[in-house]
Symmetry: C2
Subunit: 143 residues, 2 copies
C-alpha cells in the first residue's frame, strides 16, 4: 500500500486532474495535465501509444504527478513512482471508464478547440484504434 | 524571443500558477506547483537554495512547466526550456515582488497549515537568510 500523507487523500479522490511529469528520450522533462483514476493503491492513466508521453514511460518508468487543491493553491500533493505495468486496453473499457469519470467531473464549459497544445488531459489526441489505448499504472511510489 | 502558441499567452499572463517539473540527481522526475513571473521572454521563479528543486536545476537545467486554464481543464500550455541563469537575490527584492504578485493573485482562503507536502507554491519553505533566495530564469525554450 502507498501511504498517502494524512489529510491529503481527498486530492486523489476528488474530481481533480494532475500534472504528470515524464522523461523524454533525450533526458529532458515533459509535463502536462492528465485525468487519473486512484484505487487506493495504484494511479491509472489512459495513454495512447501514439503519444510522446507513452513512449517516455516505456523507456523510463519513473514519473511524478502534482495535484493542486483548486480551492487552496497552497495545498498540493506530489506523487512520485514507477510505472508498474502497462496494460493493453483493446476493448477500450478503461478508456471509457476514465472518459465517463471525466464527463462527470467536468462541468459544462466552452468546448476545447482541439488544436495546438490544446488537448484533453489524460486523453490527449485519443484517435486511432482502441487497441492503441493503454493504461499506465503507477506503483512502487517513492516515499 | 520565445514563441507562445497563438491564443495561449493569457495562460502566462493571468494570475495562475504552473506545475514545474525538474529532474532529481538520481534521474527521477519531481513536479510541484509554483508561482512564476513572465516578462514575455523569460519565466522567473523564486527558489530557496535549501530546496531539492533548487539543487535539481543546478545539476540539470532542463525543466518543464504545465499551466492549466482553471476555467477549462482541456486547455493548457506546456513550456519546456533550460534554466538560463540563476541570480542571487540578496535583498530578496524578487522574492518580495513575486510574493506581492502572489497575494494579489490569491483570493482570501483558509490559511495554509504549513506542514507535510503543504507549501506555498513557488515559495516553498522560504525560510533562511534572504541571500538564500534565488531566481531561476528559463530561456532557450524548446519549441
Amino acid at each position: 500500500m502507498v501511504a498517502v500523507p494524512a489529510g491529503y487523500a481527498d486530492l486523489l479522490e476528488r474530481p481533480l486532474y494532475g500534472h504528470l511529469a515524464t522523461t523524454r528520450p533525450d533526458g529532458s522533462v515533459q509535463v502536462s495535465p492528465m485525468w487519473f483514476d486512484w484505487d487506493g493503491e495504484l494511479l491509472r492513466f489512459a495513454h495512447t501509444t501514439k503519444r510522446q508521453k507513452y513512449r517516455n514511460v516505456q523507456r523510463n518508468p519513473r514519473v511524478a504527478m502534482s495535484i493542486s487543491d483548486p480551492d487552496n493553491p497552497y495545498r498540493y500533493l506530489e506523487v512520485r513512482g514507477d510505472v508498474e505495468r502497462i496494460e493493453p486496453d483493446p476493448a477500450a473499457s478503461f478508456f471509457r471508464r476514465i472518459a465517463k469519470l471525466q464527463r462527470r467531473r467536468t462541468s459544462p464549459r466552452r468546448p476545447a478547440a482541439g488544436r495546438g497544445s490544446l488537448r484533453r488531459p489524460g486523453l490527449g489526441g485519443h484517435r486511432g484504434a482502441p487497441d492503441r489505448v493503454q493504461q499506465a499504472l503507477i506503483h512502487r511510489a517513492h516515499q
